[in-house]
């Protein structure tokens, strides 16, 4: 089985260990360290779902927890079914079986898509299942079909043999997020002797430093992350919890953390080992270092498979050695978009074009991109996408940022991936759990957490 989009690099994968898995009955191959999403992209899978009302094809957009489309049913047997798993979060294991949860009769040929295309004009908000509800005989007949259309996965039909554990914990300092800020906080606090727990949802710490070529303390960022992890693990007063998501921030610095101990392994009836563990952590102080998510840009048909986040493109290129196409168009309004184009060309032949809404950006990244061979179009925006089941071209138009108006005629740029970057939004979710509204910060163009209590500290990245 050929992985058409796999390239040489890939910091997170182990190419010596191929892994076979099944997607919608097709047998595909990935490598150890892959997520389900990166393995699907490596195999050239574009459509991973259908939209709810119109059955529009949907592809993988992001590379992490913010993925909205790649939501799959995972599990080989009736008792091990897990519905609504984000492919970007599920690690690949040997024999993994997954399938899409919508699309009928098949994902590629979806009846609802025809309904959406033909009847969309007559039903702008889409089909309302309630139309069928007020006549009992009609409802009973319609229910089976409607359930099929509505479903996002289905529950397992047999009891789950796995063990799910819970544990009460106490610590002086809980650090949520093991990116650069979280690791630096842990390093700073460690000599004090305070009991520290640092949690991160990824299998490896470092956050965006994992995919960066920057230097930290005169060493490549990845080397610094490894050295820091080693130092923290060696310290008696620090515990590093990876594959662990802080799911709730409650009163009195009580934080629930779900550790996915064995979700990355094939489901078996384990020998007394928990599949997941709920840590109920009571912390004296909490550091929120949960980072930021990239915002997509808005243009017509930006849900066509092949439209992705610029940061996610970099993650797939550098982390997983996956280049999901050949011709890249980056739509951006900030410097971050240029990095994806640079990474794209560094990963091999192909073309990369950056369409920047700003008229004259001045940044070293822009000059670096140009010298790397990236075509830079400034003062223009992507306004539409050509293509139905996958991106064929980007429709570009000049743009006057001052007047907020499109200028002149549109032109088409051939592309199979359109990456967009609209800046970064801090992950404020946990800080809002206690009812504190995030506040707008003009300098970061985003909502930032409101300082919660005197014993909770907030860090940006």
């Amino acid at each position: 089985m050929k992985q058409v989009n796999r390239i040489a690099e890939g910091r997170l994968i182990d190419r010596d260990v191929p892994i076979t898995f099944t997607f919608n009955g097709r047998t595909l191959q990935g490598f150890r360290g892959d997520t389900l999403a990166s393995a699907l992209l490596a195999n050239g899978v574009k459509i991973v779902g259908r939209s709810f009302k119109y059955g529009r094809p949907r592809g993988i957009i992001a590379a992490g927890v913010e993925e909205p489309n790649a939501i799959l049913q995972v599990g080989a047997t009736p008792s091990t079914q897990v519905p609504n798993v984000r492919a970007t979060e599920q690690a690949l294991y040997e024999g993994l079986v997954c399938r899409t949860t919508n699309g009928w009769p098949s994902l590629e040929w979806d009846a609802m898509a025809m309904v959406g295309k033909l009847a969309g004009k007559m039903m702008p908000p889409g089909f309302y299942y309630k139309t069928m509800m007020y006549s009992q005989p009609v409802w009973h007949a319609a229910e089976r079909v409607i359930r099929k259309m509505a479903g996002l996965g289905f529950a397992p039909t047999e009891p789950d043999p796995e063990i799910y554990d819970k544990i009460n914990r106490h610590c002086d300092l809980l650090i949520i997020g093991a990116g650069p800020a979280g690791l630096a906080a842990a390093l700073t606090a460690q000599p004090s002797g305070a009991r520290i727990i640092i949690v991160d949802e990824n299998p490896t710490p470092g956050g965006w430093l994992r995919f960066s070529d920057d230097q930290v303390d005169d060493a490549p960022a990845r080397v610094w992350v490894q050295a820091t992890l080693h130092a923290l693990r060696a310290a008696a007063n620090v515990e590093v919890l990876l594959r662990s998501t802080a799911t709730g921030f409650h009163d009195g610095n009580f934080v629930t953390v779900v550790e996915r101990c064995r979700d990355h392994l094939a489901p078996t009836v384990t020998q007394g080992l928990a599949r997941q563990r709920m840590h109920r952590i009571r912390a004296r102080e909490v550091v929120l270092a949960s980072g930021a998510h990239e915002r997509p840009l808005v243009y017509a048909n930006n849900d066509v498979p092949g439209c992705m986040l610029a940061g996610a493109v970099s993650v797939y290129l550098k982390g997983y050695g996956v280049r999901p196409g050949n011709a890249l168009v980056v739509a951006t309004n900030n410097d971050a978009g240029y990095q994806a184009a640079i990474d794209w060309l560094a990963a091999g032949t192909g073309s990369a074009t950056v369409v920047d809404a700003r008229a004259a950006p001045t940044s070293s990244l822009v000059t670096r991109a140009e010298s790397a061979g990236v075509v830079v179009i400034q003062g223009a925006v992507v306004v539409d996408v050509v293509g139905g089941a996958s991106v064929k071209a980007a429709v570009v138009c000049d743009f006057d940022a001052q007047a907020d108006a499109r200028l002149g005629p549109v032109r088409k740029l051939a592309a199979d991936v359109i990456a967009s970057s609209g800046g970064y939004s801090p992950v404020v979710h946990l800080s809002a759990h206690l009812g504190h509204r995030p506040v707008w910060r003009e300098d970061v163009c985003g909502f930032v957490p409101n300082p919660i209590t005197s014993d909770c500290c907030l860090l940006a990245l």
Partner: protein
């Protein structure tokens, strides 16, 4: 989940050990039989329900089984102080800000 310091047990304990018992420092009319319906109604039913600092009673049900007073912020749920029944809260200008 709150953590509440019981002034009798002198320990910081988890909220499930306690019961909330309403607003504190409510003076019962001296002679209920002779007070007006309005005054009696106000004593029985009308509460300040403030947004912010609130003086309230808690009952340490799974501990010493005694009532005590708590000063709690109803917005942030921060507990400022706890003190025994019959006592008055510590007047701290810094806390009152």
């Amino acid at each position: 989940m709150l953590r509440i310091h019981c002034p009798y047990c002198q320990e910081l304990r988890d909220e499930p050990e306690f019961h909330y018992s309403g607003e504190a420092h409510l003076a019962r009319p001296e002679d209920p039989a002779s007070c007006s319906d309005a005054a009696w109604g106000a004593y029985l039913y009308f509460r300040r329900n403030p947004r912010g600092r609130h003086h309230e009673m808690w009952y340490h049900a799974a501990g010493c089984r005694r009532f005590f007073n708590v000063v709690r912020d109803t917005v942030t749920y921060d507990i400022e102080q706890t003190y025994a029944m019959g006592a008055q809260p510590v007047k701290d200008e810094a806390l009152l800000q």
